[in-house]
Amino acid sequence: MSFDVLFSQFMSGIARAALLFLVASGLSLTFGVLRVLNFAHGSLYMLGAFLSYSIWKLLLMPVLGFYVAAIIAALIMAAIGILIEFVLLRRLYARGWPEQLLSTYAIVLIITDLVKWAWGGEFLSIPRPRPFTGAVSLFGFPFPSYNFFVILLGLGLVVFLWWLVYKTRFGDIIRAAAHDREMVSALGIPIPWLFTWIFVLGAFIAGLSGAVTAPFGSVALGMDMEIIIECFAVVVIGGMGSLPGTLLGSFIVGEVYAFGIMFKPELALAFIFMVMAVVLIIRPWGIFGRPER
């Protein structure tokens, strides 16, 4: 097997990893600080994709339309994030896991029916935006330029989140709150306000990643569940709530899947969960995660 073939497959894996990271980072962030496993994260992503489609259609802007639509959709998702946090999540922080899972699963069902009602079952599609319509040549092998855009966006998000979490005062508070909620509260920092912002940020990322996938494939019902299961694998492997962990988890899942497809396509999906099982046995809290206290 020649180098260019393997390299091309490796790049396919990177492209998938970038997409997974976009979605999983939001999931991991909300879990890391809020300690809520947001099952509805995939639904926020799906709603973001549908919204971006409709906004793109309304805008009728040939070049900038998609980018503007993606940002508006992400902002709308952020607003919906405020609503969800205020109405539901706020009441769940003190509750146990089963209630959190059930309640966020309720959001999954609500959003699915909302999408069915508003958009029906059609599968929709946005053409790739300029200038990312074609492909670039990598060692003589074509690579879609839109995938580059997704990878760049993923890297941008990594840098932004790293800066936010490790270099700002807001980040200090986030890390402190993730470590010891009561202590931070005792210092006079309004925890509910902090949590709202974290959840809104997570919803914004979900909406943005949904919008970014719209030109990549098709926008259709069921895309929420399709992505959330792989994202769980990502955060379990990398470690819940850890930014470097999510990055590594996305990379592992993307590459294992890509090379699985090449060498043993029937088992490609199973390989991901085998890796997950191995990680769970050796380090139940994930590669970069911290054991629960």
Binding site: M1, Q9, L19, F123, L269
Partner: protein
């Protein structure tokens, strides 16, 4: 006095006449009023990739029912419709079908979309002796492997569809010897690709399938499959991808120059072409089960008019085949002169039928219709604001239906006695 007596007699006679007339009318009207409507249960999968197909299918059913009811129904009985959702889950499908039969007391079933839910419900309604026509779900197992008299098929099954598509691909690229396949990893995709492998080896001596890709149903990112296929440098690729999955695949494969390098055939039907818009790859091959641009006969175009009046959009094939299913049922009931399931099943066996896709017959052996399969090449058309097909082939079902001997051979293995 005589005059008065005459008048009394006259009044008496008149009243008798009028009463008898009224009674006669009442007699005439009474059976119609007490005649119960015929109940049809449409069971579909309103979830995931099947949601849209199911919606279109139900629209086709509704248009047919409205037409039939406005002309007095079947055997003077109106048609009622109950729609149920399986959520594309096998357990829900079984529960809903039981409920339709036992509580709603439906006389006939139409649906579903997924071959998976279709096979699950087959056991249940066969037990209760209720006839089902599945105008979308087309796994061959419904009529062959798990044959039951209570299923009648009006769309090409996976075998017929794949055989016809394989022949078209072979006609278009006769020199191709090295193939890859890509199909959704469930009942439908597995069956289509198996039939492709059988047929291509019959058509091309020394044909080789060098790689099989099995993405899961609902896959969003096909990039790794595309690079893996292209690494094998196949002469042609057979796909059984459909719907949103095919839209995703097409958009992701285009930047790799996949469609310029590789002859490819897949289920590029009307909804997929519509969703892809300018991204639909011209020159790539498609197969389908019959819609307006595949078979623009007068009856079909008349239906297009009705459908556009009803919904404002062009009908896809899924609406066409559901519409045909209802009219086939009507023809069978009228032939049997009863709605008794066994009598209707008997009437339907070997019955010729002319629908939107022209003439076909329901084969008595396995209740498989000799319905046409269509293939074409994606192209622009000045008459439509979306891409359609050119070089269209209409393969009559009897050319691709599984031969009786082959069906019986499978029955020997699966234990069907007939």
């Amino acid at each position: 006095m005589r005059k008065f007596a005459m008048l009394t007699v006259l009044v008496f006679i008149l009243s008798i006449i009028s009463v008898s007339v009224v009674m006669a009318q009442a007699k005439k009207a009474a059976p119609a009023a007490t005649k119960e409507p015929i109940k049809i249960g449409a069971i579909y999968d309103f979830a995931g990739g099947c949601h849209m197909y199911s919606e279109s299918g139900v629209k086709g059913i509704k248009i047919a029912l409205d037409e039939i009811n406005s002309k007095g129904g079947i055997l003077g009985r109106k048609l009622d419709l109950v729609v149920r959702d399986t959520e594309a889950k096998v357990d829900v499908a079984v529960r809903e079908v039981k409920d339709l039969i036992l509580r709603e007391k439906v006389n006939f079933l139409i649906g579903p979309c997924s071959s998976g839910t279709g096979l699950a419900m087959q056991v249940v309604h066969s037990e209760y002796k209720i006839l089902r026509i599945p105008p979308i779900a087309n796994t061959e197992a419904q009529t062959v492997d798990k044959f039951t008299p209570y299923v009648v098929q009006v769309v090409p099954n996976t075998y017929m569809e794949a055989i016809a598509a394989t022949r078209y691909l072979n006609k278009k690229v006769p020199t191709a010897k090295k193939f890859c396949t890509i199909g959704p990893d469930y009942e439908f995709g597995r069956r289509e690709e198996t039939a492709f492998a059988e047929e291509i080896k019959r058509l091309v001596p020394g044909a080789e399938i060098v790689y099989e890709a099995w993405p899961k149903l609902g896959e969003k990112d096909f990039t790794a499959f595309i690079t893996a296929i292209m690494a094998k440098k196949p002469d042609a690729v057979h796909g059984s991808l459909f719907g949103g999955d095919l839209v995703s695949f097409t958009k992701q494969a285009a930047p790799y120059g996949f469609f310029e390098k590789t002859p490819f055939i897949a289920l590029y039907d009307f909804p997929v072409l519509l969703a892809l818009g300018p991204d639909a790859p011209e020159g790539t091959f498609g197969f389908g089960r019959g819609c307006f641009f595949m078979d623009p006969n007068p009856k079909m175009m008349e239906f297009v008019g009705k459908y556009r009046k009803f919904t404002g959009a062009y009908p896809d094939g899924w609406a066409v085949q559901n519409y045909d299913a209802i009219y086939l049922l009507k023809a069978a009931i009228e032939k049997a002169k009863t709605i008794d399931t066994d009598a209707v099943v008997k009437a339907i066996e070997g019955m010729p039928f002319e629908g939107l896709r022209q003439k076909f017959t329901i084969r008595a052996l396995d209740h498989m219709g000799t319905v046409p399969c269509y293939q074409g090449t994606i192209a622009k058309d000045p008459n439509y604001p979306f891409k359609i097909w050119k070089d269209i082939t209409r393969v009559p079902g009897d050319q691709v239906i599984r031969p009786e001997a082959s069906v019986r051979e499978i029955w020997k293995k699966t234990g069907v006695v007939r």
